[in-house]
Symmetry: C2
Subunit: 720 residues, 2 copies
């Protein structure tokens, strides 16, 4: 019955090969004139330098953690270093994903610009879309390959293969967390600094080559939005799918259920092969509707394949149908979330126009109203998450046969339905990344067009592509957060049963597993003080994270502003095109500061939950995770959507021809506040929540044994 | 053993009489010249008109709820309408508190202004402090009188007296919620509108009589900051003390424990009688340190009285000592929280200076950094709350004898320790309200001085008083939120046992109480989907509330801005002192809009939890409350402290003589964003959380019976 896992390996490899084929096609395109190539090159060099320094900084930390995992988990468990291996490979995968994203985008930018110059919209769209597809297919392919390959290998080596599989997710989310924080600080500080002096003070346009911060700004797009988002989606994929597999394993479900998870993921990638080819490019005026059609077609095809595939597993037909339905629910919810996000962040609807309207009054009311819109936007998405949780739970409750946990089995059976829904939501990731990666490619192309001084009509083409890219970028965030929320809930519940499993293995006080489970769940009631204190710590961690990242952007931007002001002051010839600005110094400041700022929040995400679990007790840790989910998911939505809404409110004011008015200035201030909201703090909450979850699963063994040694298992510091 | 409750009644009455005595003293002071009296009169008239319209609007809703409580709770329970009575009296108490606050403040303002003109700082401080003490003593006195009086009466009438006592809290918090929302929208919209056109566009100073919005702005201070804060502290007092009594009753503790709660509250009021007289006024340069000394002395005296009083109850000495210690812990934490808040919101420390520094760069970075400071400020306060919870829980766990709930008794015993800590935190409320009410009195006096055109040296005196008032106002908020958090946690746990009590009374399936409890607690594990869905709804409710109130301020301010601009445009003589502005129209717009905006969020706070409890199940309701606490408490801290920090960052810039620079403009924008954060949305989260809690206790009976009828007790929609 390992057939479907092998199928996953094969399709994963095919995905990578397909991506290579598309990449070669993109690279064969005309890279434009020498100036365009020079600019692309400068950006690529800066981005590569930053990424490598970031990876070097991380290497020491990852080594320490790998050794810790080996000593504290693999050795006592007897898992032959597999947990460490999973962690390391998962981490390397995130680094690779980030690097790939950066590589493809920077190589494509000048080619898209050239395509816009020579072939117009149709050609430019084709090139940028295929560049996006390189990302979508390679990331989904690599993730699928790793998961199904490791599943096969780990399972062959030990019966204790499930935790090492989650370690894959831990490595992936940890590196992603650091990339999101570091890249996010870099990109927004550079953007802010370049804009504040360039656009606001010197009155030169965005991406103007006279601005000493322009290269840093473009490097930032690549290390933040591109490398960060690539790592994020890769990590979400890994964590979601491994969480579902882990849950099935904990549950003691027959192998078919695990095969089903891999099969559905594989089928979705097959559907993506088709979907990326469905984009209509020639004669297109509105690329967004073309892109939406390609996404809808992929989802529809996936759903059909789920239902067909479910019959290949040898399950009772009604169970197969029910679980295919739960998975499809997740897949179908993706466009709903995209639509909701679009409503709150696009200037075609009321909310963004209300914000723009307030720009007539003052920047302050723009901020107040935009913040209000962001808060409100979280509600329908949370409602969708709650509804998916409820419905998929009910499906799982009735459709999954359960034996391993006696009376409590139904909890797990229900949440397995939710796990399938989260897999459904995630497996359309390939096409969503394609659409999302296309955004930064267009953005970069736009920058190249401006810096290389290409004619206005070329700029018009790349402007349209860029603005569509902004929309796909904004909506992808809502989607990514929702899928993270479901995956986190699944892992959260699985964690608790892993804890019980470990405790049962420790055979405390000679009790049997169900007895231990019963006691452990008593320690998990919401009125337990350890749980409450843990929840307060979890919320605090989310606040700490958000605060540190926001203030880091402010601090770094301040240094950059001072450097750019200094250059303009000391070399007045720059603005008259007579002197060359010193791009490298700004790049250097951004790099140094971003790497200086990203360690503290990242370390907090590791140390706080570990300490809480070891010292306050495992149930305090469970409370911590719950607090982080409950506080973090809505906050991530708030920050992403408020940021998107402010951005588009500014665009709406510009569209009305009101540039350079007070109203426009007010809208620009809103947009500037929104930048670190949507591109630094908001996106780092996603991997934060998953680091907490996966870290807890990986270290559950050490935590439980320490708790037992301290005499605080299962009730924590407060006996009951 | 009803002796201490009688003692409470007597001291409560003494408190009110003492307040009357002080009020007469204040009213005997010189009210100033005719112009000053005229201005005071105009403000008082506008404020009274708004409050009465607000109360009329609420009357219908309260009547409906009162009838509902009578029919759904009192009749089936056989509690002779006492629950309804408690609700109505609690609600009327909040209205009275609000009215009193407004009355005292508006009457005192011109007298403080006159005192500053004739007697300088010492005299002005004495008058404003005593005006504050009128509030502090009367509110604490009335609250203590109501609680101890009702306890005596209810207990004499029925053994089922505990829920009616909580209904007192429900009425109080519900009316406070509406007052906070309505008054908060009024005050900040008027403030924003008046400032944006007056200060920013027309360049006239704050409180300038040429500004058509100036009376509305000052009315707003009285209906928002004054009436709202008065109702808020009154409500916190009632809810905290009744929650502790309710818990003791649910727990089946001997009567001494209930007497102890009332005794400690009474002793604290006695300490307050002494404390308000300890303020040094003559020759004072820095009123803040005088005020702090009076507060510290009151706390120290209270703590001494707790330990002495604890021996009067006839408990075993070690239990008495332990519970006095838990109560003192709460009292001693108050100044710690005040200090933390001060650190994050005063310009004497790093955080506010960092914000001011960012004003050199842009308004956007002021917002970003200030928001970051607000987030960070929540963390130490939450840590204090968590620490108090942990320590007081441990004390209660060992010190309280428990029998009523068998194995589970320890949960309640522990939380009773926390209940005593929350009582300790709250009983210093009298002196804290005194210090807090003194703020708006000084603020109003400052307005009178400006509008009446009194000389510069008078303004200097009231300016100092006003700025100290801003500090006491900001720090009081942190204190109020922390005490609300502890009270909410206590009520949350008590609620769950009330649910079980009701279910046991319904004798479902012939099971005994412990059996029901066991099953009910199973439905409360954090991994239960109903609990998780409830938590998501709770967070959403907090977001909905915040969003609606923020946007309401933006919308209302926009209308006011347009009206003021219209008046300046149509009557150009206003700015040259030749024409009279139409104050009444602005007052009317603010009143109409505030009352139009306050219904939807207020109704949501009633309908959403009721529906969730009735239809999704009581455990979803428990999840909802937990979600609202976990999301709401840190958010309230964030909004209050970010607002305070922005305000003082602006003041810091002004102190450096940088008024009218770009840097000052940037700081003003931060202050303006902070206004509705700290005075509208933030403060309304406090009563919101308590409405959810008290409403659930009051309606627990109807919820459990409906759940049983629907077949969803105890597991909600998801059977286990």
């Amino acid at each position: 019955m390992a057939g479907f896992a092998l199928f996953g390996v094969v399709v994963g490899i095919l995905g990578v090969l397909y991506a290579v084929y598309l990449a070669r096609w993109v690279l064969r395109q005309n890279p434009g004139n020498e100036k365009m190539q020079f600019i692309s090159q400068a950006i690529a060099t800066g981005a590569r330098a930053y990424l490598f320094r970031q990876y070097r900084t991380l290497a020491a930390l990852l080594t320490v953690l790998a050794v810790l995992i080996l000593l504290a988990i693999d050795l006592p468990r007897g898992t032959y270093g597999l947990t460490m291996l999973g962690f390391v490979i998962g981490a390397l995968g995130s680094m690779l994903a980030g690097y790939l994203g950066m590589y493809v985008t920077t190589r494509s930018a000048s080619r898209v610009a050239q395509a816009a110059a020579t072939g117009g919209m149709g050609k430019a769209l084709a090139v940028s879309w295929r560049a996006g597809a390189v990302m979508g297919l390679s990331l989904a392919g690599i993730a699928l390959l790793l998961i199904s390959g490791f599943y096969l290998v780990f399972k062959a080596v030990t019966h204790d293969w499930a935790v090492p599989l989650v370690a894959l997710g831990f490595g992936a989310s940890l590196v992603t967390l650091f990339m999101r924080v570091g890249g996010g600080i870099y990109t927004k500080a550079a953007d802010l600094g370049a804009d504040l002096v360039g656009k606001v003070e010197a009155g030169i346009p965005e991406d103007d080559p006279r601005n000493p911060g322009v290269i840093a700004d473009n490097v930032g797009d690549n290390v933040g939005d591109v490398a960060g988002m690539a790592a994020d989606v890769y990590e979400s994929y890994i964590v979601t799918v491994t969480a579902a597999i882990f849950l099935a394993a904990i549950l003691g479900l027959p192998a078919q259920y695990i095969e089903m998870i891999i099969l559905f993921a594989t089928l979705a990638l097959v559907a993506t092969f088709v979907g990326v080819n469905l984009l209509k490019t020639s004669g297109v005026k509105h690329p967004l509707s073309s892109i939406s059609m390609a996404i809808y077609a992929t989802i529809a095809l996936s759903v059909v394949l789920f239902f067909i595939g479910s019959f290949l597993l040898g399950l009772e037909p009604w169970r197969a149908l029910a679980l295919a339905a739960a998975t499809s629910l997740g897949a179908l919810v993706a466009p709903v979330i995209v639509k909701i996000t679009d409503y709150y962040t696009s200037y075609n609807y009321g909310p963004v126009r209300r914000i723009a309207e307030q720009a007539k009054i003052s920047p302050a009311t723009v901020i107040i109203t935009g913040y209000g819109v962001g808060l409100m936007s979280a509600i329908p998405i949370i409602a969708v998450i709650a509804a998916v949780l409820g419905v998929s739970y009910a499906i799982g409750f009735y459709a999954v046969p359960v034996t391993a946990f006696g009376d409590y089995s139904k909890y797990l059976a229900g949440i397995f339905g939710t796990a399938m829904a989260s897999v459904g939501l995630l497996v359309v990731a390939g096409i969503i990344i394609t659409a999302d990666s296309y955004g930064p490619v267009s953005d970069n192309a736009n920058g190249v067009v401006e810096m290389a001084g290409l004619p206005e009509n070329v700029r018009e083409v790349t402007d349209v592509l860029d603005s569509v890219g902004n929309t796909t970028k904004a909506t992808t965030k809502g989607y990514a957060i929702a899928s993270a929320a479901l995956a986190a809930l699944v892992l959260f519940i699985a964690l608790i049963f892993e804890i019980v499993d470990v405790a049962a293995a420790a055979a405390i006080k000679g009790k049997d597993k169900l007895n231990i489970l019963d006691n452990s769940l008593k320690a998990l009631q919401v009125i337990n003080p350890s749980v409450l204190i843990g929840a307060l710590i979890g919320v605090s961690l989310v606040y700490f994270f958000t605060s540190r990242t926001l203030e880091a952007v402010g601090r770094t931007a301040m240094e950059i502003v001072e450097e750019i002001r200094r250059q303009f002051r000391e070399k007045p010839g720059i603005l008259e095109w007579k002197e060359q600005p010193d791009y490298a110094r700004v790049v250097d400041i951004a790099t140094r500061r971003a790497l200086g700022e990203f360690l503290v929040p990242g370390l907090a995400a590791i140390i706080v939950p570990l300490l809480a679990g070891l010292v306050l007790g495992w149930n305090a840790l469970a409370g911590l995770i719950m607090g982080a989910i409950v506080a973090g998911v809505p906050r991530a939505l708030l920050m992403a959507n408020a940021g998107g809404a402010w951005d588009n409110a500014k665009k709406y004011v510009e569209l009305q021809g009101l540039k350079k008015t007070d109203m426009h200035k007010a809208a620009v201030i809103g947009d500037t506040v929104g930048d670190p909201f949507k591109d630094t703090s908001g996106p780092s909450l996603n991997p934060l929540i998953k680091v907490l979850n996966t870290l807890s699963v990986v270290f559950a063994y050490a935590i439980v044994f320490t708790n037992i040694a301290l005499g605080i298992y299962p009730f924590g510091l407060f006996p009951a």
